[in-house]
């Protein structure tokens, strides 16, 4: 019994470090993607005043499914054209057509996921019963 207690005592600082670091690491990954999204996509969109959220809403309205939206954005970013864009043709009279991405597929997928997570409405919709007004 004493031996077990000593062992637990000996490894307790290591266990403490693991417990502290794991949530930090898990939290860091999405944060990292958000930073990348800001750097790789949104910075340019903001500079050119491209309405990113409105673009996402158009995707939502047409496809509804997150998986389909992801595929459609992925396909567009690899081969951008006015005809395959979710935005109407006059949009490109005001904003330039994007060049094909140079990012590798995995990175591009992660960034699209971050884009969807950033602008998604799931967490924003609140159901309010009318007697709660």
């Amino acid at each position: 019994m004493e031996k077990i207690n000593n062992t637990a005592h000996r490894y307790s600082p290591v266990l403490l470090c693991i417990l502290v670091l794991i949530p930090g690491t898990l939290k860091a990954a999405p944060q990292q993607e958000t930073v990348s999204l800001q750097k790789q996509c949104l910075a340019c969109h903001e500079a050119q005043q491209i309405p990113s959220e409105m673009i996402y809403r158009r995707y939502l309205m047409r496809y509804s499914s997150k998986q389909t939206i992801k595929k459609k954005i992925f396909s567009y970013l690899q081969h951008p054209s006015v005809s395959t864009s979710i935005m109407p043709a006059p949009f490109f009279g005001k904003f330039p057509l994007k060049k094909a991405t140079t990012l590798d597929d995995k990175r591009l997928e992660r960034l699209i996921e971050a884009y969807i997570a950033h602008y998604d409405v799931d967490g924003k919709i609140v159901i309010v019963t009318q007697n709660e007004d």
Binding site: E53, M54, R57, L60, M61, R62, Y63, S64, S65, K66, Q67, T68, V121, D122, K124, I125, V126, I127, V128, T129, Q130, N131, D133
Partner: protein, 387 residues
């Protein structure tokens, strides 16, 4: 009211009320189903309106880029928004796995579900799922109405049935009354000559003036039989208005007296009489009832016995047993033998009223009667009472 009248009235009422109840039950079932559908339709209509209202809100919210997108809903409903992959966007109905996405309206358990397909997909919403409990209060109200209606209708039709039943049995009543009048008149006319014959017979026997004893015996038996028929018919006629004079009755003495009365008939049929009569058996009974009970059982045991047969009469504290070795009865005959005008064997005389009288007496005093009979072997009748 006569027994047969009562029987006919009860039969008529039971058929009438049963058929009316079945008819009303079918009607009530149809009414309940229609009312239920009406209530559900009403709820569906309200759900459709609520879903329309929600769709308008979705259209408006789709253009909003605020941090919170509130959707206002009636508290009677539970809302779930689903994307085209049927994944929840907001809300989470517990019935999602049970929903049939090919049907707009559906009832799942006690819940009513409305599924509205939305296109284009504002805020990504492809399905608006509204859920609400079935209007149980409304259904309970319908059930209460049906029960009250059934009770009121039941009472009305019972009274109507009684009225119709009396009309229905009126001809039967008239026929019975006519028959009773006939019996009354006949018995009245029979009484005087039968009494005269019996009195004179006794006189002749006392004075020992006649040598033809056998012939005299036959006349005596025939006269006594006539006398008993007269008594039975009078009993039956007066039965419905009969006032019983119930008092302690020495059954042992009465039975011995009646055995003596039947002695001539027993002797004529050369029956071996086994008599075990316990002394001092006293019952609270009307004298005429006891007389008719004993006479009819003894008469049957003698009448249906074979010549030279056996007649066992046993009286104990709790029962009277009369056993003969006569023609006996099969089980089918035993089922209806107590009915009036039934006879075990039509070759013997009588009107078939004997066991009907026995049955009436047994019923009036709460006695029990059992027939143990085998065709061509004999019958044992046991009358049991509680001491």
């Amino acid at each position: 009211m006569f027994r047969s009248e009562k029987k006919s009235l009860y039969r008529f009422l039971s058929i009438y009320l049963l058929s009316t109840f079945i008819l009303f039950a079918i009607g009530a079932s149809i009414f309940y189903t229609l009312e239920k559908h009406h209530l559900i339709d009403k709820q569906r209509q309200m759900m459709t309106q609520e879903a329309e209202h929600l769709q308008h809100q979705l259209i408006a919210l789709h253009k909003s880029f605020a941090k919170k997108l509130p959707i206002y809903i009636d508290p009677a409903y539970t809302l779930t928004l689903l994307d085209i992959d049927k994944q929840p966007i907001t809300g989470s109905s517990t019935l999602l796995k049970l929903i049939d996405f090919t049907r707009e309206y559906q009832s799942i358990g006690s819940e009513l579900v409305y599924l509205k397909f939305v296109e284009p997909y504002y805020l990504g919403t492809a399905y608006i799922v509204l859920q609400t409990p079935l209007d149980q209060a409304g259904l309970s109200q319908v059930k209460r109405t049906i029960i009250l209606f059934m009770l009121a209708a039941g009472l009305f039709f019972l009274l109507l049935g009684l009225f119709l039943g009396r009309l229905f049995i009126a001809p039967m009543r008239e026929a019975i009354e006519t028959m009773n009048r006939f019996i009354q008149d006949t018995t009245h006319e029979l009484n005087t000559p039968v009494s005269t014959i019996l009195t004179n017979l006794e006189l002749i026997q006392t004075m020992q003036k006649c040598d033809a004893k056998e012939e005299m015996q036959r006349i005596e038996i025939a006269s006594k039989t006539l006398s008993r028929i007269y008594d039975d018919l009078t009993y039956l006629k007066l039965n419905h208005a009969y006032h019983r004079d119930i008092r302690p009755l020495d059954l042992s003495s009465l039975l011995k007296e009646r055995i003596a009365y039947f002695a001539t008939a027993i002797e004529a049929k050369k029956l071996q009489l086994e008599e075990h009569v316990e002394e001092g058996v006293v019952l609270e009974m009307d004298h005429d009832d006891a007389l008719r009970l004993i006479d009819n059982l003894l008469s049957n045991a003698v009448k249906y016995n074979r010549t030279g047969g056996k007649l066992r009469i046993e009286l104990g504290a709790t029962r009277l047993v009369i056993e003969d070795s006569g023609i006996g009865m099969d089980t089918q005959t035993l089922q209806y033998i107590h009915e009036r005008f039934r006879r075990a064997n039509s070759s013997e005389g009588g009107f078939g009223i004997g066991l009907d009288i026995v049955h009436q007496v047994i019923k009036a005093y709460g006695f029990e009667i059992t027939f143990n009979s085998q065709p061509h072997k004999g019958t044992e009748v046991t009358v049991q009472w509680k001491k």
